[in-house]
Structure formats: structure tokens, C-alpha cells
């Protein structure tokens, strides 16, 4: 009698794969909006034509442009004027420390941000000066010279003090780019920083109250509390995260989340940090997986040999 098993196997595998393809790749391609990556090029923003001078930039950042009125530059020993909670009560969100922004945010983006924050951040639907809704970050209107040159100088200064891109850690990128709005509780991160371990419960509760107060301001500013990102690496695809980070409006039109303007390199680091929280064991999984596959293969070979020896007498 002809052996029908190969044909049966082909039929079973074919129907299984067809079903899989229909309910997974095909269904998901129909269910979700497809957004092409812009490769973090920020082409909608004007190109930077001037070469900046860091020394002039320093004078502007700390002087005429008044950046340090709201922003700290801890690296240069310029502390913030108020703590995170009070800053959030004043501005809606705690203004970022400028120590490493030069390494995390794109040059075009920073240049446009200084001149027109709501535009660079893509939140003009929320902040429209004509309607009296000013973005809490005051635009820089120039210090008397060529404004583009002045902006280039300031960006050059920020880039000169920032860490080298190769020294940018995933944690640093996440905390700077996302961490003032998003908590990451599995990494012990709150919007006002990492929660220290306190000896006394009273101190721990006092810290929690500060976080809650900060979150109240943030809620009023953003419309809702931005989600905790602990598990977002597992709940969203990498492609979604990339395209959402580079332009939140492309995936979720009208969202209050600003475009944060990270470089491609910094975005990679942010996503790596999200993976470190949500998929901590991914390296172990691959290693164990490979070993288990070898073990199972050897088991299958022995099972096959056993079957052959048993069935030798049966045919």
C-alpha cells in the first residue's frame, strides 16, 4: 500500500500555515494603520545652515536667551530654580535639565524648538498663541544679532557639554526623553526621578505624595496621566514605538504627547531601555531556547531510531 503520510503532512501544514497567515500577519496588516518610518530625519523642519560657536552659545544660554531661568544644567553646576513638583505646578511639566540634551535630541529639532517650541514639538493644536494659549516654553526671539546664528551657537554649546553619543546609556536616553512624563515602575522610575529606598515609612510616603502632586500637575497639563511604560516593549511592536516616538501625531492624531525630537541613535537607546524593563530575560530566552532546540532534536532522532527498531519486526 502506498504511504500517504507525506501527503497528509503537507495538507496539515498547509492549512495550519494558511490559518496562521490569515489571523496574524494579514489580519494585523488590516487592523493597524501603516506608518512609514521617517528615520528620525525631521525633514519638515528647516535645515541648519549656520555653524555654531559654543563659546557664544554659552553666553546666550546663560545670559540673553535666559534658558537657565527655567532649565538647570547640573553638569555645569547650574541647579534648577525650583524642585520638580513646584516646576510642574508652574509650567505643567518639569523643564528638562540641559546637561545632555545635545546628545539626545536632533540638531534640526533643537534649533527649531528654541525658536518655535509648539511647532517643533508638534503640539500647535494645543498651543496656539493667536488664541492666547502659549506654550509654557517661551520662544527665543533673538538677542539682537542674526537669530539663526545665535540659535546655532546655543545648540553648539549644548552639544559641546553633552556626553559623547557612544557614552549615552539606554537609561539616560529614556530618563531625558520620556521620564518627566512617563513612569516606569518596574525600573523604580517615577516622573520626579528614581525612588530611593527609605528607612522610614514616613519618608517613603512623603516621596509618594510628591509624585502624586507632580502627577496632578501633569494630568492637568496633558489631559490624562501619561501611561507607565514598564511593559510597552511587549505591548507595542518595535516599529510602532519607533514611528510613535519620532512623530506621535502620525499614529495618534491629536494626541497631547509632543514630538520629543530624539536622534535615531537616542531612539534606539530609549527602546533598548524599554526592552530592559519589559523583556528583561530576552538574552536568557535565546540562550536557553537554542539549547532546548538541540536537546529536542536529539530526542527526536532517538525517538525515530527507536520506532525503526520496534517496527522492523512489524512490517
Amino acid at each position: 500500500m502506498k504511504n500517504k503520510e507525506p501527503l497528509i503532512l503537507v495538507v496539515v501544514v498547509a492549512f495550519t500555515l494558511l490559518t496562521y497567515w490569515l489571523v496574524e500577519p494579514f489580519a494585523h496588516s488590516q487592523m493597524h494603520k501603516h506608518v512609514e518610518s521617517e528615520h528620525f530625519e525631521y525633514k519638515d523642519l528647516p535645515a541648519v545652515t549656520k555653524t555654531g560657536n559654543a563659546a557664544n552659545g554659552k553666553a546666550l544660554v546663560t545670559g540673553a536667551a535666559a534658558c537657565t531661568g527655567c532649565h538647570s544644567i547640573n553638569k555645569e553646576s547650574m541647579p534648577a530654580g525650583m524642585d520638580a513638583v513646584m516646576a510642574a505646578q508652574s509650567y505643567g511639566v518639569n523643564p528638562p535639565d540641559l546637561s545632555n540634551v545635545g546628545a539626545i535630541f536632533d540638531t534640526r529639532f533643537l534649533s527649531d524648538l528654541i525658536k518655535n517650541p509648539a511647532h517643533a514639538l508638534k503640539v500647535e493644536h494645543k498651543f496656539d498663541a493667536a488664541k492666547g494659549k502659549m506654550h509654557p516654553m517661551v520662544a527665543f526671539y533673538g538677542a539682537g544679532g542674526d537669530i539663526d546664528q545665535e540659535v546655532a551657537d546655543m545648540v553648539a554649546y549644548l552639544q559641546s557639554i553633552a556626553v559623547k553619543p557612544e557614552n549615552l546609556t539606554p537609561k539616560m536616553a529614556f530618563e531625558n526623553a520620556c521620564g518627566r512624563c512617563h513612569a516606569m515602575s518596574y525600573e523604580n522610575w517615577t516622573q520626579i526621578g528614581e525612588k530611593p529606598s527609605f528607612k522610614h515609612k514616613k519618608d517613603s510616603l512623603a516621596f509618594d505624595i510628591k509624585v502624586l502632586e507632580y502627577q496632578d500637575s501633569l494630568k492637568a497639563y496633558m489631559g490624562k496621566l501619561p501611561p507607565d511604560l514598564s511593559m510597552y516593549y511587549r505591548s507595542r511592536s518595535t516599529h510602532f514605538l519607533e514611528t510613535f516616538i519620532e512623530n506621535p501625531q502620525s499614529q495618534l492624531e491629536g494626541t497631547a504627547m509632543p514630538r520629543v525630537g530624539v536622534t535615531a541613535h537616542a531612539a534606539e537607546k530609549v527602546i533598548e531601555h524599554m526592552a530592559d524593563s519589559a523583556d528583561t530575560k530576552r538574552h536568557e530566552r535565546e540562550e536557553v531556547g537554542t539549547n532546548v532546540m538541540w536537546y529536542t532534536l536529539i530526542f527526536a532522532i532517538f525517538a525515530f531510531l527507536w520506532k525503526r527498531s520496534v517496527w522492523r519486526d512489524l512490517h
Binding site: 503532512l9 488590516q30 510597552y232 505591548s235 536557553v288 527526536a300 525515530f304 520506532k307 520496534v310 519486526d313
Partner: protein, 404 residues
């Protein structure tokens, strides 16, 4: 009282008390299986092994899981996935096995339908098998609630809503099932109980019944040949192993089972480690939020076909169609009026019916996941009507089948 003598060995000691040799014969070495079978007959063993994987991984998960709405998500995604050594492994094995077990159940079911293994004395095998399908479905659904993610919550909301029975508005029944107006603590607790106690007990009992139902009518074979098991077994025991039409369950059949199991485990562990998203839906990695409905709510893939029978109709008609789909498979031994217990390929119209049913259920599965709009909606409606029509015509096309 039985007569006991001084035991000559441990085996003898046990033999006098438990008759282990007799048990071994009845259960394994003289449990006769037809030789004329293919690898599809190994699906039972694969199911048993997958169930064992579910049970063992479930026991490990149970040591750390916390059935509380405030801590369930955390205990799964932080404690088990990050803190507990190999907790991630047990969760992946459990999640993937829960999905793959349905693939094997469907292959097992369609094998039964194709070869007519529900006819002439094998009705109880079919019925106990369908009861297992129902309890496995309940087990899968209740387990899906436990991580308390977005899909847990919203699938729980949608499925329990079905019990309001549409136009009858039995909202009290829905509240009774949930123990609350919405899925909340009472809901999570009772589904936890169902998942880890009552349903596994029912499944184990039904597996016993399923095996027992197989004893008297024996296993079917791939040509629908009527085998005289006593005669063939004697032939085998007399030494004509090659000429006999039957083989021992162990080691003869078992060795083939294990060969198929080996191939299956390669596939299974590949999914566990490298391709698990289909079983661990990303949406369920967002914590449950009663104020945030996901853009798309869909059940796991193995429920999609019956979900799609519910969906394209108006509420009341949809519920009737859904109820029909749930019970109709159970009635198959009586809806198939043919006197033949042979493979579908030799049964004319029934052969066409079999492949149409298979394709229709795959179409329903696909449409059950796709957004119910435009062309998908129409295809879903046609496929749902086709499903009902196929079952309505089954008695008529099989009644006139000639005896072969």
C-alpha cells in the same frame, strides 16, 4: 479473602497486591491497536503531552500568581517574568501550549470526521471528545482572564455579556456570573478558581472517560477496515507480527507516537522561545483599564470561527446561530446518516462536505479577527450562513450514500 504468599521479589509483592502484570497487559502490551494507521493517530499522545506541559507549567505559575485586581498583572509581568528564576519560561510554555493545544485538538477532530471515527460504537468517543473541547475552551477562557490585562478584561466583558441572551435581557444572569456589574475582584477570583481547580478536575475526568470510551470499539484505522481484534491479537502473540493487523500499544504504537512527539516538540519549543506573539497577545501586556476600550477586541484564534458566527447577524439571530454552532458538532454521529465507516475520500458527497466545512471554518476564523467592515463583513456573513447550511444538508447527503 485472597491468598497471599511470601513474596519472592518486589515485583511479586506488588503483583499479589496490585496485579501490576495484569494491569500492564490490559493498559499497554495487550492493548491492541490497528497497524494500518498514520501519524494523525498520534495526536492523542501529543494532546496528553501538551496537557502535561500545561499542568506542570501551571503548577509553577500558581506558586507566584496573585488573584487580585491590584496585583494580578504585576505578579505575572513583574514577579513571574522578571524576578522568579525561569518564571518567563513557565509562562511562555503555558501560554504557547494553551494555544497550540487547540491546533492539535482541531487536527484530532478533523481526523475523526475525515475517517468517520464517530460512527458504529464510537459515538461515546466523539461525545466525550466534544465535551473535552468545551471544557478546554472554558479552561482557556478562564485562564485568559488571569493576567488581568486589557484583553483579559475586555474579552471577559464581551463574553459574559453574551449571557444576557440578547433581546431577553437577562442582565441579572450576567451580574450573577460576574459577581458584580463589571468584571472586578469577584469575577477574577471565581475565574481563578475555575481555571486552577474545577475545570482541570473536569478535564481529567473527561480524559479518563475519553480513554475508556475507546476500549470496547477500539481505535479506528485509515481504511475503515473492520478488524477482528481477538483473531489478529492471537496471530501476533503466536509470532506472526508482520502478518497480524494489530500491534501492541506499548512499545509498538508508543514508539511511533514518540517519533511524532519528537517532531512536535521541535515545533512547540521553537514557538515557545522564538515565535510566541501569536499566543501571548501584545494587547494583554497593557494592564486592565475599564475606562479605555481597545481599538479591536477579538478572542484568541481558536474561538474566532464561532465568534464570527455570532457577529454578522443582529443580536438575537446571532445568538441563536452561535448556540447552534456550539452544539452541532456534538450531534455529528446522528446527523451523518451513512452506514459507511470509511475515509471521506471514498464517500462522494461527504468528501466535498468535509473539505467545504474545513475551508469554511478557516474563512470564519480569518473574518472573526478582521474588522467587521466592508467586504470582510460580507464574507463573514456568507461563511456563517454556509456553516449553518452545511450542517443542515449533512443528513440529506449522507442518507443516500451507498453502502460500500
Amino acid at each position: 479473602m485472597a491468598h497471599f504468599t511470601k513474596a519472592t521479589s518486589v515485583k511479586d509483592w506488588l503483583n499479589q497486591r496490585l496485579a501490576i502484570e495484569k494491569v500492564e497487559k490490559v493498559m499497554a502490551s495487550e492493548y491492541w491497536i490497528p497497524k494500518n494507521i498514520n501519524f494523525l493517530w498520534a495526536m492523542g499522545m501529543i494532546l496528553a503531552i501538551t496537557f502535561a506541559l500545561l499542568l506542570v507549567s501551571g503548577i509553577f505559575l500558581l506558586m507566584y500568581y496573585q488573584p487580585h485586581v491590584d496585583t494580578a498583572f504585576y505578579s505575572v509581568n513583574f514577579t513571574i517574568m522578571r524576578e522568579v528564576g525561569f518564571g518567563w519560561l513557565w509562562r511562555h510554555v503555558h501560554g504557547v501550549a494553551a494555544s497550540v493545544v487547540f491546533l492539535i485538538i482541531y487536527i484530532h477532530m478533523f481526523t475523526g470526521i475525515y475517517y468517520g471515527s464517530y460512527k458504529k460504537g464510537r459515538e461515546m468517543i466523539w461525545i466525550s471528545g466534544m465535551l473535552l473541547f468545551v471544557t478546554f475552551s472554558a479552561e482557556a477562557f478562564s485562564g485568559y482572564m488571569l493576567p488581568w490585562g486589557q484583553m483579559s478584561y475586555w474579552a471577559g466583558m464581551v463574553i459574559t455579556n453574551i449571557f444576557s441572551l440578547g433581546g431577553l435581557h437577562v442582565d441579572g444572569l450576567v451580574e450573577w456570573i460576574r459577581g458584580d456589574y463589571v468584571p472586578a475582584q469577584a469575577f477574577l477570583n471565581r475565574f481563578f478558581m475555575l481555571h486552577v481547580l474545577l475545570l482541570p478536575l473536569a478535564i481529567m475526568g473527561l480524559i479518563g472517560l475519553h480513554f475508556a470510551a475507546l476500549r470496547i470499539p477500539h481505535v479506528n484505522n485509515q481504511d475503515g477496515e473492520e478488524v477482528d481484534f481477538d483473531v489478529e491479537a492471537k496471530k501476533y502473540l503466536d509470532g506472526d507480527k508482520a502478518g497480524s493487523k494489530v500491534i501492541r500499544f506499548a512499545n509498538d504504537f508508543m514508539s511511533k507516537d514518540m517519533m511524532v512527539v519528537g517532531v512536535y516538540l521541535i515545533f512547540f519549543f521553537y514557538l515557545v522561545f522564538f515565535h510566541y506573539e501569536f499566543a501571548l497577545d501584545p494587547v494583554n501586556f497593557d494592564p486592565a483599564d475599564g475606562l479605555k476600550t481597545p481599538a479591536h477586541i477579538y478572542p484568541e484564534w481558536y474561538f474566532l470561527w464561532s465568534y464570527e458566527i455570532l457577529r454578522p447577524f443582529s443580536v438575537n439571530i446571532g445568538l441563536i446561530a452561535f448556540g447552534f454552532a456550539q452544539v452541532i458538532f456534538m450531534l455529528l454521529p446522528w446527523l451523518d446518516r451513512s452506514p459507511n465507516t470509511i475515509p471521506a475520500s471514498r464517500r462522494g458527497l461527504f468528501n466535498i462536505w468535509f473539505w467545504l466545512l474545513l475551508i469554511d471554518m478557516i474563512v470564519l476564523t480569518a473574518m472573526g479577527k478582521l474588522p467587521p467592515a466592508g467586504i470582510f463583513s460580507t464574507i463573514g456573513l456568507v461563511a456563517a450562513l454556509a456553516f449553518i447550511a452545511l450542517w443542515v444538508v449533512l443528513p440529506f447527503i449522507t442518507k443516500n450514500e451507498k453502502k460500500v
